[in-house]
């Protein structure tokens, strides 16, 4: 009986570690190779805090007797979590500049190996290669929980709490933000959200939970040994998450049960060779699973709810009509002052790539509430100018003003906060999220995207989330695709994906919207939807600027056009005016 309880405890430990890693690996799509180290940091911290002091051991520090601060187990558990949290934050500092995933792999891999080595060397802190022993067990009053049958309940509660916490975080607006970053951090930044902070928090929170489990394991086993916190164990935890299913916590539960029972079962068959056999089996399972079913045993979004026929996200909201949506969404006042300055002014922008001058002194402006098209032959510098306005490409010289203020070179997320947002030629919608979730990502100032408010004011967050969903649905309705709201975007046609991207832009409430080739690669029927959608943006009073090749499209939509050639503005006016000028038409069509 004790044996089974002991095995169950080790599975529950693995499960809790896996669930916390899934928050990072599955939801945020970032790999940590050092999860076992945070597990260990928590263990050593808890051991040092709860071990008896020198005085309690008789006043003399004798060799072989390990001492600590003699804390109660509960504050020690909390401290272990905080220490693991801070350690993770510290090592992820370089990641602030390098959000690219491979750097985190490199960094955590090196951190794992170095820390594990240090644990064996720093005798005064970790007790050296044999670690610390004599860690006092958890007790409630006079009851000491030391037998497996007793401790199993503690671990069960901890596992349930960790799953609930990770579920709460992962399925919240904050989790949605993580999933967005996993797919396109540039798109998240273009929606006015800091692309770095959520990832650092996911990493640190995941480490904190591992630290907490480490403390509990220290209390249960009574000892902490460096050889328990190896790279092999880190990889084992990764395997649990990946085999179970990235981004699916239930999958991790299943994965932990399967892989956690592997060693005890193998021990019955092959005895002491169980450990290498276990590694061969889960290593091979990882390879085979990724080749045949990369989404894991339980794919993302597949939960108990799906089994009884409930759809993800529910359908509680009624699909609003276009008119209802139009009434509810923000109307921008175009302003009646005829002397008001243009909302965006571009002065003398210059950009060279090596010896090639792409933009050579372009100046123009966007008028409030109008649709302005940047047109011109290929290589005229349209996209380059566009990228310089959006802050994705630094200009060599020249300035960009937004509402009279200089915003040259401001990063994309800053510009979005100031009311200027862009779309991408290659859409960059979040493929594995629903259309509704995609658009919800555009909504600004969501309390649920702040980790602190998620913890402190969960009810306000839920209330705000209903408002966010309603608004997202309105944006989709305005573009005529509300009925697809709960479908995953990668199930939609390319044309519908472009509409989702425009709806997402609309949800930002930015009044200046820059669209990069909104109809390129779109089928004719969807082009009509895009045209009417952009017309709706104008109806709401937004200022729109677009780069577009299709003259037909520009003629139907644009109030004004800026004609570029060889990096300079050579004409401005209505599209019809420009197209009547023969020399421009020749330039454009290359005849």
């Amino acid at each position: 009986m004790s044996y089974y309880a002991d095995v169950t405890i080790s599975i529950l430990i693995l499960m809790t570690l896996g669930v916390s890693l899934n928050l990072l690996l599955g939801y945020a799509g970032r790999v940590s190779m050092a999860h076992a180290i945070f597990f260990g940091i928590g263990g050593f911290a808890a051991a040092r805090l709860t071990l008896p002091t020198v005085d309690e051991l008789g006043g003399v520090a004798t060799a072989g007797l390990q001492t600590g601060a003699s804390w109660h187990w509960f504050p020690a558990l909390i401290a272990a979590m905080v220490i693991a949290f801070l350690a993770a934050l510290l090592i992820s500092i370089p990641a602030v500049r390098l959000v690219r995933g491979e750097y985190l792999i490199l960094l955590t891999l090196a951190f794992q190996l170095v820390s594990n080595q240090l644990m064996g060397v720093l005798d005064s802190v970790t007790g050296g290669p044999y670690g610390l022993s004599g860690v006092p067990p958890i007790g409630f009053g006079d009851t000491i929980l030391i037998r497996p049958e007793q401790f199993i309940w503690v671990m069960l509660v901890a596992a349930v709490l960790a799953i609930a916490a990770c579920w709460g975080i992962g399925e919240s607006p904050f989790g949605r933000l993580l999933k967005g970053l996993r797919e396109h951090d540039s798109a998240v930044a273009s929606l006015g959200k800091n692309p770095v902070v959520p990832e650092l928090l996911a990493f640190s929170v995941s480490a904190a939970i591992a630290g907490g489990v480490g403390a509990l394991a220290a209390f249960y086993y009574g000892s902490v040994v460096p050889s328990n916190y190896t790279l092999t164990y880190s990889i084992f935890i990764i395997s649990v998450v990946v085999l179970g299913g990235l981004g699916n916590l239930w999958g991790t539960v299943v994965g932990a049960i399967v892989l956690g029972s592997l060693e005890p079962l193998l021990r019955e068959v092959v005895g002491d060779s169980a450990i290498p056999w276990q590694a061969v089996i889960y290593g091979a399972a990882l390879v085979i699973m990724m080749r045949l079913r990369p989404e894991g045993i339980l794919p993302e979004g597949f939960g108990p709810g799906r089994l009884i026929g409930r759809r993800r996200g529910g359908r509680s909201q009624l699909v609003p009509t276009e008119q209802e949506a139009l009434d509810r969404l923000l109307h921008v006042d175009p302003g009646t002052d005829p002397d008001a300055p243009p909302i965006v002014e571009v002065f003398d922008l210059q950009k060279s790539f090596g010896g090639l001058t792409a933009v050579n002194g372009a100046s123009f402006s966007l008028q409030r509430g109008q649709v302005t098209a940047l047109i011109g032959p290929n290589g005229a510098g349209k996209t380059t100018i566009f990228n310089m306005i959006c802050g994705t490409l630094p200009a060599d010289s020249g300035r960009v003003h937004l509402r009279g203020a200089d915003v040259t070179g401001k990063p994309a997320y800053d510009l979005a906060k100031k009311g200027l947002a862009r779309s991408f030629q290659d859409v960059r919608v979040f493929q594995r999220l629903t259309a509704l979730e995609n658009v919800a990502m555009g909504v600004q100032d969501q309390p649920g995207e702040s980790f602190a408010r998620l913890l402190l004011t969960p009810f306000a967050v839920r209330k705000a989330e209903r408002r966010v969903k309603q608004k997202a649905l309105d944006c989709l309705a305005l573009l005529g695709i509300a009925e697809r709201a709960h479908d995953r975007v990668n199930d939609l046609s390319y044309g519908d994906q472009k509409l989702v991207a425009i709806a997402r832009l609309l949800a930002t409430d930015c009044d200046v919207l820059l669209l990069d080739e909104p109809t390129s690669g779109v089928d004719p029927a969807s082009v009509e939807k895009v045209i009417s959608g952009i017309g709706r943006l104008r109806d709401l009073g937004h200022t729109v600027c677009l780069v577009e090749h299709s003259v037909h499209f520009v003629q139907r939509l644009a109030d004004r056009a800026v004609f570029l050639d060889q990096g300079t503005v050579i004409a401005e006016g209505t599209v019809d005016e420009l197209m009547e000028r023969r020399e421009l038409a020749d330039l454009y069509f290359g005849t």
Binding site: V31, L98, Y103, A279, A284, V287
Partner: protein, 291 residues
């Protein structure tokens, strides 16, 4: 400061650093071209060593022939990984994360397979004598000299190949813009295959250089692979000389650290250097800033 100690540490730093440079170039060329975080590189390192030991002890092959068997095994392991696993996954547009996880799976399963087949004990390759050469108070072994010569000859060959030959330039083209490279008729499969052959050959050489001095163990590949990663990132991804310089620097740093630190802390110095470089100059010492 003891100057003769410094000189001795510098010499051993150069020897160790040359092997690290080889590892850096080996990992760097694969990572820069394919963007795959090829952790399974460790399998080629250990596989080469075990194959040479097996050829020598079980087949009774002479020393040099055993080394050739080792090299062949290393290259074969790299090729099998690319052709059997990475290539079909790329074809199905698998994400880099899933490809990395495959690599991770291989890097876990392979050393444990070695342990099941050959046992967990150290394996020794019968080797020729290794006389010590002394210049003044500084000593080096013949093996050290061979290590330095072999490493820098191979690095120079690879770096020249990539910069000077037509095929080498198509490797650079694949690295900087795969879509455009394919559009102008570069065969991506062939480029990837060649890159894996070069990278695996270099890592096999490093594995054999190690085994002809030390011993082979199932998990021997992991630490050198990580050193290769760090060297390549330190020097700058995409530059052969950068990765080589990164490796040499790592060797010197860990060797010099013995002047003021216990030997156990060597890896900490290496990690510290990497942390600092990533903070201050994320593109690496010789890397170009991303556009």
């Amino acid at each position: 400061m003891d100057l003769s100690l410094l000189a001795q540490l510098t010499v051993s730093g150069i020897v160790v650093g040359s092997a690290y440079a080889l590892l850096g170039v080996s990992f760097g060329i694969i990572y820069a071209t394919t963007k795959i975080f090829h952790l399974a590189h460790a399998a080629a390192y250990a596989g080469a060593a075990y194959a040479a030991v097996w050829a020598s002890n079980s087949l009774g092959l002479p020393f040099l022939a055993a080394l050739v068997v080792g090299l062949a095994a290393g290259v074969l392991l790299g090729l099998v990984t690319e052709i059997l696993f990475y290539r079909p996954m790329r074809k199905r547009n698998a994400t880099l994360l899933t490809i990395f996880l495959v690599s991770l799976g291989i890097s876990v399963a392979f050393p444990n397979l070695l342990q099941i087949v050959f046992g967990p004990d150290n394996q020794t390759l019968p080797r020729p004598d290794n006389p010590t050469i002394a210049i003044g108070s500084v000593t080096a072994s013949r093996h050290d000299v061979v290590t330095v010569l072999v490493a820098w000859t191979l690095i120079t060959l690879v770096a020249t190949f990539v910069v000077k030959t037509r095929f080498g330039r198509s490797i650079t083209a694949m690295r900087t813009n795969p879509t455009m490279a394919e559009a102008v008729g570069i065969d991506s499969k062939l480029v990837y295959t060649v890159v894996f052959v070069i990278g695996s050959l270099l890592v096999a050489v490093a594995g054999l250089l190690f085994t002809t001095k030390g011993v082979a163990t199932p998990t021997m590949g992991l630490a050198p692979t990580l050193t290769g990663f760090i060297a390549a990132f330190l020097g700058g991804i995409g530059s052969q000389w950068g990765a080589a310089l990164g490796g040499l620097l790592l060797g010197l740093l860990s060797s010099w650290s013995a002047l003021f630190l216990q030997a156990d802390y060597g890896p900490v110095v290496v990690f510290g250097a990497m942390f600092l470089i990533l903070l201050v100059r994320p593109q690496g010492l010789l890397g170009k800033a991303a556009a």
